[in-house]
Amino acid sequence: MKITRFAGAALALATAVSLVGCATNEQQPTTAAPGGESPATTDSPAGLTGSLAGSGASSQGKAQDAWIATFTNANPGVSIAYDGGGSGAGRTAFAQGGVEYAGSDRALKTAELDDPATAFQLGTGTQPWGKCAADSGIVQLPLYISPIAIGYNLDGVENLNLDSSTIAKIFSGKITKWNDPAIAALNPDATLPDLAVTPVHRSTNSGTTENFTDYLSKTAAADWPFEVSGDWPAELTGGEGAAETGDVASILDSGAGTIGYLDASRAPGHTVALKVGDQFVKYSPEGAAAVVAGSPLEEGREPFDLAVTLDRTTTDPSHYPLVLISYLIGCETYADANQGALVKSYFSYIASTEGQALAGEQAGAAPISDDLRAKVTAAIDVIS
């Protein structure tokens, strides 16, 4: 009968689990999250209920967390989960119908939109964009604009000016010492130590890498002959690899002589000023917003497919061209109208000035320009 005693113990454990009860911070929507701000008063229709699932880019994970926290506090009946597993995973999950919306560090390519079954290896008979109504179009909204900072750890050097060809040489291993003449020429006032340069790059596929290499190959093609890709060029075996953005930050924090690119939300105290035109520009949300505002929309797209072609080679010193745009991807018409209403309301909140300001506060993101907001709002209006 000792066995029944064991069963009793298991039962007791199960009871203990249920007695633990609910988290005090959940299901009490009236109290704001500690450290968070009061729920935003959006114009979302009252009485929204239901749940949404999103998946995709880790870059906007922190902003998504903040948006979700504020939006669900304002709409207690709604629960939203965003899984920042990666852009590729998010696009595929959206194509397969696993999630209602996706976050992606690049817009879906026209080839992917034209033939999703091949691009995402959907099984035969699977309806592409599974959560959408049949024949529904796709909206792609550039709602998360984040400058990519180049951080460094160098004692006694408060300001560091670099141009793109020097950055390309540093990250491709052609410059190995901090007191290299190329760096010294750009920083006549700094006392550069005779210290080895340790460039830090992402070892996993990442939108940050894709934008960083895109910037280098557009502005310093001679020194950066590598393919633009989310993967770090295989030819470059030097430098230190970091799996995630957080790891880059942690390496920059602990190692003297390190330099690495990372999402501005995680930028360390010291960041490089980029040469734009004939001036040196530090990253700033304003600079990032300006370069996006000055970039044209990609041509040949559907009206609500707002893919931006970034102008990397800008010479306007109010621009900071090393920018990542992360898109929110959703359906024009959802198979479930309630989910359509939820997505519409949630996206509206994100596009609102409050939503954009919150992302700036929590994740260092740049707000979208009013011009772009008008286009985004028009696109959101068709969601149902």
């Binding site: 080895a196 430098g239 690899g241």
Partner: protein
Amino acid sequence: MTSTTQAAEASSPPATSLQGKPRPGDRNFAATALGAGIFILVILAAVTAFLLIQGVPGMLADPADAPTTLGQSANFWDYVWPLAFGTIWASILALLFAVPLSIGIALFISHYAHRSLASVLGYIIDLLAAVPSVVYGLWGSTVFAKAVVPIYAWLNANLGWIPLFGGQVSVTGRTILTAAMVLAVMVLPIITAICREVFLQTPKLHEEAALALGATRWEMIRMAVLPFARPGIISGAMLGLGRALGETMAVAMVLSATGVVTIQLLTSTNPSTIPANIALKFGEAGYGLNVNVLIGTGLVLFVVTFGVNALARWIVSRRSEFSGAN
């Protein structure tokens, strides 16, 4: 419970003959026990089958179909080779640290420390095994890696002419050597426990005979204890190797990997390991054929650990035939 008891009672009266009739309770119980045993075989077969079903397509995948994993490799084997090298290299380094230390610790507990202390000391070493691997990862990356940086810099400056210590020294300490040392700490308790067990099993007469002949304690250990314990030490080391090969989180959190093949221990370019690579890439690559590629690498790991464990058992069974009898 009650129904089966009744069934047993109903069946017990006829069972008076010596031969005994087959009783339904007995039959059911035996069948359940047999079923459980067979179920374990089924689970193992299922593990193998699922890894094969999901992994083989990844092994045969065209790099174009699995861009986030195979993107930069010619084929699967080109992709898995640096990982396999890193896995084995880190594990062997870990054993180089762990085995001598474990033998020393086990000897200290079994032959040097006072009897009343021995069990307490043994418990302290067991505590090392109680710390979850994610905690070692956290400790390794935030505390240990930073602590070893000056040591690495010194080694690199003074012994840099040895290829192992050559190259550009890492400023963060997140190197394969650090990962191997954290692995060593994690396998230490396993090897120590087995060594301690076999050291204590040394025939007391052998030890006393050696001491009576005037041997010092070390000579007694060298002549009586170690030869007796050799198969145990080897099997302990192999089990530790199996554990080190499969360890995931500690390596994933400590190591800064770039996917090269190198024997340099102190640089910031390090090979990754198969399990750490799966854990780190699974989120980003978790779709399409990329998953199959990762599962394929898991299959390779499974085969390698299976081989190591089988080899360990074979060595033990072969050695024990003549050393145990003596």
